[in-house]
Symmetry: C2
Subunit: 143 residues, 2 copies
């Protein structure tokens, strides 16, 4: 499957494998295939189900449970960022730089907004000496 599959990886295999190893993950067949789908074709905002469909469509042999495992593991290792829009829509964003989002309510699509375009001022202190782990800004538009 790896060298003669019907969809060759967009990224160099060795580089992908190294990226996984560098965060302490074994470059298994499934992770390699999913990582290629995720990172090999520009930034994506993708749901678990959609990635699973993508994988099946490209002939990758993987179970839905593994897709969830991989997405959560990648997120925990900082390779992805999870964006929850509502209780039935959770996206994994391959752009891990600090940035924000437009959310198109009709299509359910997300679009990145560069951090330079949103400035937060007079931000209150995190109470009690706690530290801020993340700031999410979602701009919902009605289209």
């Amino acid at each position: 499957m790896s060298s003669s599959g019907n969809k060759k990886p967009v990224f160099n295999e060795a580089a992908l494998a190294d990226q996984l190893r560098s965060v302490g993950l074994r470059p298994t067949q499934q992770r390699m295939a999913l990582a290629d789908l995720l990172f090999g074709r520009g930034n994506r905002h993708i749901t678990a189900e959609a990635l699973y469909s993508d994988a099946l469509a490209t002939g990758v042999n993987v179970s839905l449970a593994t897709v969830y495992n991989a997405l959560h593991t990648f997120t925990a290792k900082g390779l992805l960022r999870e964006i929850t829009i509502d209780s039935t829509r959770s996206y994994f964003d391959t752009n891990i730089d600090e940035h924000h989002h437009f959310y198109f309510e009709k299509s359910g699509r997300l679009e990145d907004i560069d951090r330079a375009h949103v400035k937060l001022t007079r931000l209150p202190e995190a109470p009690d000496g706690l530290s801020v782990s993340r700031i999410d800004v979602v701009i919902r538009v009605d289209g």
Copy 2:
């Protein structure tokens, strides 16, 4: 149940009923009781399950389905605002003024941030002449 129940409403019944009627909703027993729990004791960030427990605890006879119905109806009528933090945590906020939130990751609690404390500048245009229906800012703190 309404006038001699073991928990009297904090709000004046007639005023609550008028509030419901003014948005086109019948002031039924269940809605009145839920509205009182929601609006009769200061701003709240509450989940459907928690409101259901509250209702049972105060002797209100209501089903979980009705709690969901009421929360969604109230939200659609603009009496509540729904805040989704992650796929398993959806809160209904009785504060419908424009404002933002701290989210305490350990406790799962939300806390309001007044709009005056967050300033968004250089906000990009909504694409295509679409209009912005809402902006959510969530600041996650690790405590």
